[in-house]
């Protein structure tokens, strides 16, 4: 199962990167969203997918799934949510101020 999940994470990364390399900001944000999904799945897979009980202690249960990756992912979900919403508002403001959300039109090489 881990191999299948790794491949799925790989597909999420690939599609995310492809979206990231597009021109429009909205597509770029979609790309980051896909990449963060891929990363979360990746962390979960790395923590072994052996079936056991959910990590909520109960009398008599011997084997649980690994709780640490879950805690890490939970933190990561919240952070990526914050970043995504910031990016979205940034996209909105950029489009409002410049009249375009095309990254190729937003570049300025004169001052670099």
């Amino acid at each position: 199962m881990e191999i299948i999940m790794s491949i799925l994470a790989g597909i999420l990364f690939a599609t995310g990167v492809y979206n990231l390399l597009q021109k429009q900001i909205l597509r770029i944000v979609i790309g980051t969203g896909l990449i963060s999904h891929g990363a979360h799945l990746f962390i979960l897979t790395m923590g072994k997918l052996k079936t056991g009980a959910p990590p909520i202690l109960e009398y008599g249960v011997k084997s649980y799934t690994d709780p640490l990756p879950q805690a890490l992912i939970l933190t990561s979900i919240v952070i990526s949510f914050g970043v995504t919403s910031l990016l979205l508002v940034l996209a909105y403001r950029t489009a409002k101020a410049n009249g375009t959300d095309n990254m190729e039109e937003l570049r300025g090489t004169e001052n670099e």
């Binding site: 999420l12 979206n19 990590p55 909520i56 649980y64 640490l68």
Partner: protein, 777 residues
């Protein structure tokens, strides 16, 4: 001794305050006593029974960098030149520079330079020496660019800076290598370990580094090109830095390190060959110049080449002649520069084609120029010091002790001829300088102002220098035993004693001198006929062109390189970053054979999970292929909900819950923004770009998948989660282990994550509310 270096430095701090009174009194008068006092301090050491002595002050003892000062005969000669000519130049500058100039800057730079130069010649510690060395380059840069509103001054300053700092940095490389090999930073202790250094594998490197430093500073071929352009500096600066002191720093360096480096044939070959070439090239080029200071600049180059060549010969006669010529050159070249400045000051031009017939108008300057120019030419008169050292130079070219090997013998035959060749041109340009300026037809129309004799104050310094020329010429014994013998002995590291005679008897050096004068006179009289030759030969083979080409191309190429990768497109940058990650990542895989697949520890494959996974994969792919952005947003939602389903299946209830909520809110946000964003435009249709993007994306996905698979297949140690499961109830007081980890075991993460959310919220708020542009009004 240390005070002589630091007093000028301290004085620079006081100059701005003194300069405030310049309305009444020229700033230079206040400063005149300082170099004079230093000169008087040093002159008391002159004497037959001079003994070197040593002073040391701690600076950075842990790195063996200390302010070690060592006064030997050679340093004493230089210290006297620096302070003595410094005094005269200061006096001259008082009359040369008007009060309306920015005098504060001028004298600060000049004193900075004086301190640095004294530091160079007195330092025994190589790193302190290097520090002072760069300070001379820097202050010389400031002085050349003193009239910074002129474009030529800025060009000359930049050129000298680039070339001398290039040499200075290579010198630092040589010093570091020397210090590493010997384990000491003191030059005296390095001399004691001479055999170790010469036998070391890095010795050729040290030789190259030190040579580069010395040759760039002393304007040796082909690094001589900065010196003629440095003539844009005020004339007192040219007289001081570019004839008497700074350009001799490279000579000083070779002389100081001669006891260490001169033991090998390559030292002889390189130094004497470069010196002789510089002598010939400089004197040849000098004849071609039309600017008085241009003639003197090339003349300086050529004379420095001569001194350098003599250090290369390394025989006792040669070293003594070199030391003697250092002193002589400083006297007559300093006076000639000052005379050129006077001519410029009184006529308004330095162009020799416009000058002529000034003899009757400026009798004193003419008299002084006779002595200077004839001494430079080496005319055999008993009261001209230039003749003595020129004659000794010829004597030195004729005998080398123990020259073996084919190249050495070839040099041995070639050097006297080259020396005569160079000296003929020296004679020609000296005559050209003198007769072109002071004799011939007086061209009244071409001069900007009516020339008349300079004020006395301006003449004092050249008079003193010319008196020096004559005194050394008439009574060479005055400087021989008390000063020159000690200096030459220091360089040779043995005792050298030599008597200076005017009359050697009928010997080969005398005939060489006569040949120089005869051929020189003939060449000078027929000079007009040679003009076309000069225009072709040095005009074509010009090293300034090489320099300009290098400087231009460096700028062009670095601009081209930067523009190649700095396109301004985020897409390109992201792609470059990803490609770099892929190259590094895959090569690590390849070289460490890190790819392993183990199938024995896998979880069971079940159908529902496969179904969810396939749905997610299809949805992810669909985000790329869909034409409509709203569809892309909704399909992204499918991926998110699929992920939360997977969390459910993998026994992660908290994750599933959070993912569900976050995904809902995110999709809502996407839709909100989508509403405000401009209409959908066409996707990237360029096939090359699409293809490249596709390849990068697929490669990156494959790379991550491979990492996942091989990381899973190689387990190094047990996870630490057992601890959390065992202690969550007892230590954390909770049964939901994930939540206990979040708020108890690893609470800091949660705190920071809250902070992230808070900052994001504030940023969003400020982005929406705060406007500075006209949109807000």
């Amino acid at each position: 001794m240390i005070f002589t270096v630091f007093v000028p430095l301290l004085v620079t701090l006081m100059i701005p305050f003194v300069n405030r009174w310049k309305e009444r009194i020229h700033t230079g008068w206040f400063l005149l006593p300082i170099p004079l006092a230093i000169f008087i301090y040093f002159i008391q050491f002159v004497g037959k029974d001079f003994q070197p002595f040593y002073q040391s002050y701690s600076w950075v003892p842990s790195l063996q960098m200390n302010l070690d000062f060592y006064l030997d005969g050679f340093s004493l000669l230089f210290a006297l030149l620096i302070s003595g000519i410094g005094t005269l130049v200061l006096l001259y500058s008082i009359y040369y520079l008007h009060k309306s100039e920015n005098l504060g800057h001028f004298y600060i730079y000049l004193f900075l330079f004086m301190a640095a130069m004294l530091g160079v010649v007195l330092s025994d510690n190589v790193f302190a020496l290097y520090g002072f060395w760069e300070l001379t380059s820097f202050s010389s840069f400031l002085l050349i660019g003193y009239w910074h509103h002129r474009e030529r001054s800025r060009y000359g300053a930049q050129k000298s800076m680039l070339i001398t700092v290039f040499g200075g940095l290579s010198l630092l490389g040589g010093f570091v290598t020397l210090a590493t090999i010997t384990g000491t930073t003191s030059i005296q202790q390095m001399i004691e370990q001479k055999d170790l250094i010469i036998g070391h594998a890095y010795f050729p490197l040290i030789l190259i580094f030190v040579f580069l430093g010395a040759f760039t500073k002393s304007a040796q071929f082909p690094f001589h090109i900065w010196l003629p352009d440095a003539m844009e500096a005020p004339t007192p600066v040219s007289a001081y830095l570019h004839s008497a002191t700074m350009v001799k720093a490279g000579i000083f360096l070779i002389g100081k390190f001669a006891p260490i480096l001169s033991g090998v044939p390559s030292f002889f070959i390189v130094v004497s060959l470069i010196g002789i070439i510089t002598l010939c090239w400089g004197s040849f080029m000098a004849v071609r110049q039309v600017d008085l200071k241009g003639i003197l600049a090339y003349s300086t180059i050529s004379q420095l080449g001569m001194i350098m060549a003599m250090f290369g010969f390394g025989t006792k006669v040669a070293i003594f002649a070199a030391v003697f010529h250092i002193l002589n050159h400083a006297t007559f070249k300093g006076s000639l520069f000052m005379i050129a400045g006077i001519v410029d000051h009184e006529t308004g031009t330095r162009d020799i084609r416009k000058l002529g017939g000034l003899m009757t108008l400026m009798p004193i300057s003419t008299t002084l120029a006779v002595f200077g120019a004839f001494s430079m030419a080496g005319v055999p008169l008993p009261f001209l010091n230039g003749f003595y050292s020129k004659e000794m130079f010829f004597e030195a070219t004729l005998d080398f002790e123990g020259a073996t090997g084919q190249l050495m013998q070839l040099l041995q035959t070639a050097i006297p001829w080259l020396a005569v060749f160079g000296s003929i041109f020296t004679f020609v340009y000296s005559m050209y300088f003198f007769f072109g300026t002071f004799r011939g037809k007086y061209k009244e129309d071409e001069l900007e102002q009516k020339p008349h004799e300079a004020p006395w104050g301006m003449l004092i310094s050249p008079i003193i220098l010319v008196v020096g020329v004559i005194t050394i010429g008439l009574f060479p014994k005055l400087v021989n035993m008390p000063l020159l013998t000690h200096a030459a002995s220091t360089v040779a590291n043995t005792t050298i004693e030599k008597n200076i005679y005017f009359w050697h008897g009928f010997e080969l050096p005398l005939f060489m001198s006569i040949a120089v004068i005869v051929f020189g006179t003939v060449l000078y009289l027929t000079m007009k006929k040679w003009v076309p030759v000069y225009d072709v030969f040095p005009g074509r083979w010009n090293f300034n062109r090489v320099y300009d080409f290098i400087v231009d191309k460096l700028e062009e190429w670095s601009k081209a390189v930067t523009e190649f990768y700095m396109t301004g497109s985020v897409k390109h940058y992201v792609r470059n970053i990803l490609i770099a990650i892929l190259v590094v990542g895959f090569s690590v895989f390849w070289f460490t054979e890190g790819m392993t697949i183990k199938t024995d520890n896998l979880a069971e494959v079940t159908l529902p999970e496969i179904l969810v996974a396939v749905t997610m994969a299809l949805a992810a792919l669909a985000t790329i292929f869909t034409k409509s952005r709203i569809a892309a947003i909704l399909i992204l939602g499918v991926v998110g909900y699929g992920l939360s389903l997977l969390f459910v299946m993998y026994r992660a209830p908290d994750l599933a819950l959070t993912q569900l909520i976050v995904e809902t809110v995110t999709v809502a946000l996407f839709l909100l923004c989508f509403y405000h964003l401009p209409e959908l435009k066409k996707l990237d249709r360029d096939p090359v770009s699409r293809g490249l993007n596709g390849i990068v994306a697929i490669a990156f996905g494959a790379f991550m998948a491979l990492i996942g698979i091989s990381a899973h297949s190689s387990s190094w140690f047990e996870p630490i989660s057992g601890y959390f499961l065992e202690n969550a109830h007892d230590l954390g007081g909770g049964d939901n282990v994930v939540n206990v980890i979040l708020v108890d075991f690893r609470g800091i993460d949660t705190l920071m994550e809250i902070a992230v959310l808070g900052v994001a919220a504030l940023a969003i708020y400020s982005m929406i509310r705060l406007r500075r542009d006209k949109e807000a009004k």
